[in-house]
Symmetry: C3
Subunit: 386 residues, 3 copies
């Protein structure tokens, strides 16, 4: 091992990975649903997706179905998607719009105020002695909207500021006008892997050269298996280099993550030259979402666990308003590139998942470059109090 430069960015010693059975044991998965997914801020959709009053989206976090909707006066509210009468689901669709300011159960037509879930009407001729409508409002779910992104939290006592899900410094996204951009494409896939397997893949680039040859060509530093200039022991030797291999950013003459590296439509006007040069900027909202930000677009990726070994992935592409209104840009350049990279990651995650069952494998081991993986795993351990 070389003498390290100061500020070497990596783990100083190898670290044990999480217990292998945490990735496939169904009982452990139930524990993660309870301790992590049902106590964390989970991204649902953009505020824009609920632009129309009384429009709604539904989302399933584990087996908990939540309806999120725009009230008449603009507020966003969320409820458990279950009628208090005999438990029917209220809004069976993934998205839609209420016909009135009431949420009306499709089964027996109990009606709840869309604004606050109050029970407004039952369908009985008379309500019986001892029945108080106030006792039968919808079960509320905590909502937060951050820069046009809607999150829900099944923990009634959740506090956005105290439990801020964003890591990797959300300030990095300050100049990206995510709340004003336009969604131009959505893509959905089910992966045969645990949700943590996906996050660990996201959190390191040791896999980049062989899994992502095109991306490693576009982002030369990734081709060196690292994400930050200080991720190698001898980083100071190339400290002043302008070569993107050493300083980061995209290869010469490229502007964004697209098939040929060319930007599409308008570059985001509010970015600094440094932010454009950076090539990509990330925001992470654990446990269910990250944002990739590029010179000309943003991409939101949401994951939701379907079972211990199945995870749903939904990606959304956002462009500036002026691009969305233009007709001389080719969004497929951008979408196809990201789908290619995500499909490569999915295949890698599924390989990872398949090997985790090996009986002698108590757990894997983290290498120096995997400090973000370690950070992620510590976050998981803390929530499980392990």
């Amino acid at each position: 091992m070389n003498e390290h430069s100061t500020d070497y960015n990596a783990l100083k010693q190898s670290e044990p990975s999480l217990p292998a059975r945490w990735y496939f044991d169904e009982a452990h998965h139930q524990r993660e649903l309870k301790e992590i997914w049902h106590k964390s801020w989970v991204y649902v959709c953009r505020s824009h997706d609920l632009a129309e009053p009384l429009s709604f989206r539904t989302v399933e976090i584990g087996d908990q179905n939540i309806v999120v909707l725009r009230g008449e006066t603009g507020e966003v509210v969320a409820f458990h998607n279950a009628c208090r009468h005999r438990g029917s689901i209220l809004c069976p669709e993934r998205q839609g719009r209420l016909k009135s300011k009431l949420i009306v159960c499709p089964y027996h037509q109990w009606a709840y105020a869309a604004s606050d879930g109050r029970l407004v009407k039952t369908s009985s001729f008379a309500e019986p002695d001892g029945f108080e409508r106030d006792d039968y409002g919808l079960f509320p779910v905590t909502v937060a909207v951050w820069r046009g992104l809607i999150f829900v939290n099944l923990d009634a006592h959740a506090d956005w500021d105290a439990d801020l899900p964003f890591q990797r410094e959300p300030a990095h996204l300050n100049n990206f006008p995510i709340e004003h951009m336009v969604t131009v494409h959505t893509w959905r896939k089910v992966m045969a892997c645990n949700w943590k397997t996906f996050w660990e893949n996201f959190n390191e680039c040791l896999h980049c050269p062989n899994i992502h040859p095109e991306l490693s060509d576009l982002v030369p530093m990734y081709g060196r298996r690292i994400v930050n200039v200080k991720d190698v022991p001898d980083w100071a030797d190339h400290a002043g280099s302008e070569d993107p291999k050493y300083r980061g950013g995209l290869r010469k003459d490229s502007q964004t993550w697209s098939m040929d590296g060319s930007a599409q439509g308008h570059v985001i006007a509010s970015l600094t030259a440094d932010e454009v040069a950076r090539g990509q900027t990330y925001g992470v909202a654990m446990p269910g979402m990250f944002v990739g930000a590029y010179a000309d677009h943003m991409r939101i990726v949401r994951m939701l666990p379907l079972s211990a070994e199945q995870t749903e992935l939904v990606a959304e592409w956002l462009v500036p308003h002026e691009t969305a209104e233009a007709d001389n840009y080719d969004i497929s350049q951008i979408v196809d590139f990201a789908i290619m990279v995500m499909d490569q990651d999915l295949a890698a995650c599924e390989l990872n998942q398949r090997g985790l069952h090996a009986a002698p494998l108590q757990q894997g081991v983290l290498m120096p470059e995997e400090y973000h993986v370690k950070h992620f795993q510590d976050w998981v351990r803390a929530r499980l109090q392990e």
Copy 2:
């Protein structure tokens, strides 16, 4: 709430529904199989379906496969559908006819008397010391035939008279010659809901106007969300009304449950004018069957649980002999109407099932009109000794 008329038919106070997890928890489901389904009279088929000597039907109650057959001398018997040798299934088909008065195992040809399940023959050259054929007869299952309907009970000590499954007064069916009618159609569907969800749907009409617009038009009282004149507090105000909205029965100029309300073929000759006017008459045999009786036909609906969240439904349509032999009636008028109504119910049951997983929902609540649902739930609770 109005001052109630005397004899108001409804629950006086709201009642808790069953625990929500009873509808999806697989361990609880196993308990219901054991305590309810494996100790109750379960409808298999009509006696007519086994008209031929040595004809048989098989039925699965939970994971217990039962073969029911007509002996040579006319008696109906039932056995566990398993060979005593190494456990092969004996009659793998849903229905068929034995080739002889023996039930011969298709695997090693052990042969049992169809009449009583005695082991008659093994396939070995010699039977070993200590082997007594009498020890290896088929495991018998208790059978009862009631008005041409065949029921089995996995409880060896079951007594038809003591454990009478029919509720809602079977006497109401006295003038319907169910034992003599002819089955003209059968329909099968698997529902994504618990078996109790279906029964609760069956036991109330609060859902009728929005779930069943056509039926609510045909049976105007259903359009008022009720099934009995005394189900509303102010029932006495319309006590003498001839309007079917208040007195029950079908809308004017309609005779039966069919697409246009017209009777098909022959009206059942043995009915009183009151029975014809009633429009529909029900018989219920818990936990797996109900009968709907109309002026010109009957309908048997059987349900069997496949898992906590899956239930099989089979419906059969019966007409009088003279109708079956006529050629100027349109059975699709009747069949299509009932399938339309049942499909509507199935969709409602599946909505109900989906919402029951909501974690804060300990249980729902029953409203005044749901006294039959309460009766059903108390029946379930009693069997589970809760």
Copy 3:
């Protein structure tokens, strides 16, 4: 019962079969995986299948994925198919060939020596303090090669000679040159039955006349439901008979197990006249394989449990070298016959499986001819220490 001839080959008394729930209970199945499948020699493939240096096969024993490969210098080695880094599967395909003498993880390119699983290279810039490559070699799996057949054993302390899986005297196969023959066909099927159900079927011929009419015609003794001349009490009465019904072997004018009984290609030169006359010879390697040997070919049948009620079957047909090189033989004569017989057995096994759930059936009973079944069941009991 007749007075028995001496040396009557059968069980003297009826014997209880294994508990019925052992055939479908998933928890019991896990116990069998642990105590039997993960401690026994399991057939993977022929040594010929790994003829090329660095070629490999993978096999799943329960949820344990094993890679078996031919090292550069000819040795056969096996490892758990999981990377020590973060647990990715190493060789995702069923078969293939390494590109070098290293097993390189497809995820992060950790590289292991194919010869002994030593970790040779990680993909990190520097390995951290305390990280010793020697601690991260692949988990080895014990291998044995017996006459060109490759077996693995997940028990690190397994000893081929002490734990010899072959029963029914492997010496019977001595003159069959299995290590030199050529595989000409492979067939795979998933059966809806427990693995033991299949073995019990294999171990008796009481089922032959009705399940296998064609085979019973070809092997007349099977038509009598037995596999050995001494399996009937009065065997001595026909002790000197040349009729294949009594002495065993194939029907007159037949040479092998084929659709019309005719041999295909070359008869195996090393066989004695007695071995040719015997018609079929078996070798059994518990719990996952048997070999059928005939005058002109051999057949290897491997089974692997997929779950309590699902088992994978793979059959391979082998012919002498000189047959494989000839062009005037019809392998379909041989393959079609065996597939017909195996499909008949599969259907029988699936019938057997379906009946085993009958609640009153604690277990079946073994009859005199089922002494091989008894032997099999005792082998299972011993491993479960019951």
